[in-house]
């Protein structure tokens, strides 16, 4: 059968079949398998595992090929409904001056930096043309709540049109919570709007990352989380962290802060490529080494909580583990093949420009418009989503055909990120040996498989993470 293999460590290697099942075996097994040296009787357990797991077949065309084809289709079924996530940058204004933020403006100029009602209307019209019966409308900034009137307008209009187009809509507001109040939260409750907030760690890290007058970003975030939970309920409020160089020195403190604040999960997001020195490959590799060390320390602290009987999940690992341990598709933009940019997400910027992803608009702020799909004033749904630029991005974001990825054992667990590679290497296809995207995912996937293989308790914990929670 078509299988791939990768060395886990000196003693073990992992085999992965075409639908993402894996089997950890002693080093040298793949070589013996290819040379047809396995002893069917003498190694009955291994042989049985290989046949049952579709790593080998006893007939030229495997009898269950239709079942495998269905599983393959299921793995790729995130493509069925095409773009679901629609980001509306309702304002670029923000009262924070975070040093890593490329886009926000500290200004009162609503006319210049808030999304116009005409563009909101056109964005909603485009969203309603999505083939998906379910779409997500996410409000971003700047600080989205500074343009709360825009959010109210957009939600009210979308509700009417969703009925007409027979769509269900999930609403999300991304906010730093600094200006949130009861009136806003009551509106969120009435309209079933989720709050996605920002928490970078304890006050010492958060306030250093997220500068604002009064140096009280952390205090406002905690107050906002508590108020949001009180009005909306705990499960309606999530938090995301942005990883910075300062964060890398505090993995344990960050995890413990999330635990202390009562979160059941934490998303140890990769450091943004825009924090990297563009095209400085040696420095980027060093930075990624530091991130991987941070990630493992933090993950081990999370596992300690779980080993003590707590449920506390790391989200990046969970996305990868869903790919490894379940037959289901995972619609995470940065780990899809074809890439989730365009096929899963589209961004309507405050000025009407349309981008393939949130990172694409960051690049545009650096005067790189490679990933601008078009403009709400001039382009139709077909122009934006099926145009030449969209097709070029998706072609460069299909890891089945990328050099270095096409033979990789982790292909189905990973994805492709043409925007990251364009930003860091100047080429959408990218060069895997120096790619920090590849470096990060290869090592995290290898580490997760190694952990599961080395400790059955950890495997049980990981299995609990990928089960539906509610």
């Amino acid at each position: 059968m078509p299988i791939r293999f990768h060395r886990l460590n000196d003693q073990k290697e992992v085999l992965v079949n075409e639908v993402g099942d894996h089997l950890v075996v002693p080093s040298g097994t793949f070589a013996r398998l290819v040379q047809k040296e396995l002893d069917k009787e003498g190694e009955a357990d291994l042989y049985g595992d290989l046949v049952a797991g579709h790593f080998i077949a006893e007939s030229p065309i495997p009898t269950l090929i239709d079942v495998l084809a269905t599983r393959y289709r299921t793995k790729k079924s995130f493509l069925d409904n095409f773009t679901t996530l629609h980001l509306f940058v309702v304002s670029l204004r923000c009262e924070h001056t975070c040093h890593y933020c490329q886009v926000s403006r500290v200004t009162q100029d609503k006319g210049k930096f808030d999304m116009s009602r005409a563009h909101i209307d056109k964005g909603i019209d485009i969203m309603m043309q999505s083939p998906s019966p379910h779409v997500t409308m996410e409000f971003q900034g700047g600080e989205a709540l500074l343009a709360f009137d825009n959010i109210v307008y957009a939600v009210d209009r979308t509700k009417e049109l969703a009925l007409l187009h027979n769509k269900t809509v999930t609403y999300v507001i991304c906010t730093n919570l600094a200006v949130i109040n009861e009136e806003m939260l009551n509106y969120c409750k009435e309209n079933n709007i989720l709050i996605s907030s920002s928490l970078d760690g304890p006050a010492s890290v958060h306030n250093e990352n997220r500068k604002r007058p009064g140096k009280n970003s952390y205090e406002l975030a905690i107050r906002g989380i508590e108020l949001s939970r009180k009005i909306l309920g705990k499960s309606r409020v999530s938090a995301l962290m942005t990883t910075t160089n300062l964060s890398l020195e505090h993995p344990i403190e960050i995890v413990e802060e999330y635990y202390r604040q009562g979160f059941w999960n934490i998303f140890l997001r990769p450091i943004s490529p825009y924090g990297f020195a563009v095209k400085n490959e040696a420095k980027n590799k060093y930075e990624m080494d530091k991130f991987l060390s941070f990630y493992k320390k933090a993950l081990n602290r999370i596992l300690e909580y779980n080993l003590q009987g707590e449920f506390f999940r790391e989200d990046y690992a969970t996305i990868i583990l869903r790919k490894i341990l379940t037959p289901f598709p995972v619609g995470y933009v940065d780990l899809n093949s074809p890439t989730g940019a365009v096929t899963n997400v589209v961004v309507f910027n405050y000025d009407g420009a349309v981008f393939a992803s949130d990172e694409s608009r960051m690049l545009a702020e650096m005067k790189d418009f490679t990933f601008q799909l078009g403009h709400l004033d001039t382009d139709s749904y077909e122009d934006l989503m099926y145009g030449e630029k969209a097709r070029k991005i998706v072609a460069a974001g299909t890891n089945e055909s990328l050099p270095g990825c096409s033979d990789c054992a982790y292909q189905l667990y990973c994805g492709a990120d043409p925007i990251h590679h364009h930003a860091t290497q100047g080429d959408m296809i990218g060069y895997r040996p120096t790619s920090t995207f590849c470096q990060r995912n290869m090592e995290i996937i290898r580490y997760l498989i190694e952990l599961m293989d080395s400790d059955k308790k950890i495997k049980s914990i990981f299995e609990s993470w990928v089960k539906p929670q509610f």
Partner: protein, 124 residues
Amino acid sequence: MTSKNRIQNGEIIASVDGSLYSSQTVFKCTYWFGDKFHVNVQQESGDYVITLRPMPNANISEGELPYYLQKLERDLVDFHLRDIVNNETGSIRELLVAKAFSNGEYDEAPPGEISDPVGFAPLV
């Protein structure tokens, strides 16, 4: 038989038997050394001669070169094995993907007769 592989003047030089290894194997393998080495592949009398010259900024000492030579030799075997699997099973992979996205066009009818004694499908 002694190996022609060697370290010479700060470079790794490896000879690969062209009758055993495909050019695909050689290039897929050497691709991964491009972050640390200038890679050169040449053909001589049907064999491939691979030269790896450390990049100045890769900080590879002379003492580390035997490790990289061993890694190259091992990786060549790994990619050769992958090449064998691809050659032997490529058609199954294509069939599987074709079936997956064919909306049933390539599905085979289940073996045996389908009886309908209760008459659930009277129009058949």
